[in-house]
């Protein structure tokens, strides 16, 4: 009997955890199917499958374009971060040189910068480069948090690759560049996928820079667009629309996370626990 009770308690706990984590999102879905006065009542299940909110979000808010903006920026950030990160990680992870420890700490330190701390400086820089209200400006500014993280995690993975493999390649006459491209990269692609995914999610979710460095609707990214969805008057937020937009944006990210959950977990822990 005691074992049954403790098992029951355990599963209740699991259910509570599931409820706690999933309910807000579920409720957002339910809300997204409600329009007008339906929003005034609290319901736990969708009343009917009303796609009006979704249609209005895409049509009136040009949401598809916004999503495309976010996709472009995120992909570009991932590509640049990975490229710079892989080469740096090889140096930091596999070559002994003076100042290596200090450099790693500096890179880690940069990831601790508060975003506001670089806001004015970054603003000036982006304006200087003529990239204000342009997506490439966002790509550059996002590097401040994706690059340190990418370098740190990739360095950990690079460090773990077997030394003898590198030595065999050296005996075969491979230059360090050969070694990275032909020997290590094929072995590291899980790490690259992981780091790329984490960088993608970070860039996708970024808000402060996107809010500050873009102006017009055509250059908006998803988080800013959602935050700025406004209604007819200042106090009348179109919650149905907002929920529809939120759901649309969350589904792909949730999907990615579900598919790659093992990788994401290993990437996060490699970065933090091992570091």
């Amino acid at each position: 009997m005691k074992r049954f009770m403790s098992r029951l308690g355990f599963y209740l706990l699991v259910a509570a955890i599931m409820l706690y984590t999933v309910f807000p999102f579920y409720y957002a879905i339910v809300t997204s199917f409600k329009t007008g006065p339906e929003l005034f009542s609290a319901d736990y299940f969708p009343l009917r499958w009303n796609w009006d909110n979704y249609i209005s979000v895409f049509r009136e808010q040009s949401f598809a374009h916004t999503i495309f903006n976010s996709v472009q920026v995120s992909f570009a950030v991932v590509a640049v971060s990975l490229f710079l990160g892989v080469t740096a990680a090889f140096a930091l992870g596999r070559v002994q040189f003076r100042g290596r420890g200090l450099l790693l700490l500096t890179v880690l330190g940069v990831s601790m910068f508060p975003q506001v701390a670089v806001l004015s400086g970054m603003f000036e820089l982006i304006r200087c480069l003529g990239l204000y209200n342009h997506l490439p400006g966002l790509v550059i500014s996002y590097l401040i948090f994706t690059l340190p993280f990418t370098v740190w995690v990739l360095t950990t993975f690079m460090r773990d690759l077997p030394k003898e493999l590198e030595e065999a390649a050296i005996m075969d006459g491979a230059t360090p560049w050969d070694i990275i491209i032909k020997v290590f990269l094929p072995l590291m692609w899980p790490a690259l996928v992981t780091t790329g995914l984490l960088a993608f999610i970070a860039a996708w979710n970024e808000f402060l820079f996107a809010l500050t460095f873009t102006l017009s609707n055509t250059q908006r990214t998803v988080p800013v667009a959602i935050a700025l969805i406004s209604g007819a008057s200042q106090h009348e937020l179109p919650w149905g629309n907002i929920m529809a937009a939120s759901v649309t944006v969350t589904l792909p990210v949730a999907g990615l996370v579900l598919i790659f959950q093992r990788r994401i977990v290993s990437g996060l822990t490699a970065g933090a626990v091992k570091g």
Partner: protein, 381 residues
Amino acid sequence: MAGIRLHEVCKSFGKTRVIERVNLDIADGEFVVFVGPSGCGKSTLLRLVAGLEDLTSGELFIAGQRVNDVPPAQRGVAMVFQSYALYPHMTVFDNMAFGLKLAKRDRNEIKNRVHRAASLLQIEHLLERLPKELSGGQRQRTAIGRAIVRQPGVFLFDEPLSNLDAALRVQTRIEIAKLHRELGASMIYVTHDQMEAMTLADKIVLLNAGPVVREEGSIAQAGPPLELYHHPVNQFAAGFIGSPKMNFLPGQLARIEPARATVTLPDGSMIDAAVDATTAKPGDTVTLGIRPEHIVISDGSDNTTPVEVAYVEHLGESSFLYTRIQGIENPVAVRQESSTLAKIGDRLTLGLATQHCHLFNGKGHAFKRWIKPVTGARPVL
């Protein structure tokens, strides 16, 4: 085809001196084995020749050229790693062809070289497989094939048999010897197993470990296997080569003649050894050495000592008696035929033939032995 020369080679890792004053000449086509206890730096010495480590001081010559600053791929060497270090994402063919592809060789030449090496090693049917689909022995052959394809002047083997099981080890040992005969290149082979050293080497280089390195250098003794077996220069070399270990009996020099010396054992027995101890004087502390396979059970009285059997081990092809000489703490091992009837508690007389005795002075250095010149045959092990 290349000769190798190490001149006053030293290697330190930070403050730790690992290799001290190594002077060595390896002739073209010679099979040299670096052997020694752990920490003696044998792998490090190999890696110095390979170019994976830099010399702290000294010179290294390969085929007459000073290669201290030459990158590994241009030294004309190829290495077979202990863990094989095959590229996991490439097929056997690609593994073997990797170096040649990097050197931008012609596609046909690559194909020919790989196929020739593969047929030599009998792995032609495995060329399209990935390393994870191969057995340990097959992986090792691929690693060797990768080295052969480079057509180096010197092959470097880093404990290649240590990851194989016992039966495969013997078989592969024979194949490596065969490979040496067929390819004719110089080979440097690192192992901790003295049996591999004895059976494969043209020249054994026995390396020191511990504080003695600083005083006497890294090399304890270098020479053909039989020379190390019959004429070890010190107690360390005598004890390292030959299995089971040589017996060491403490004693005192009683009488010295040009061609023989008489030693008194702690139990009073007098043993004559066929050595030249003229540099010592009577009363000096010495150590008598004799291998278990050279001790006989005798009923004579010359060069004998009474013992009691403490333990017996039956190996099937032979038996070993561990006997106690009064006054000596360590048991003396005696090899006998498997048909021996000896048992624990038996009192026997051991015969220590004069020409089989080694003698070492107080510092462990060997006195020169007067024995018949050795032939080319390898000792029975």
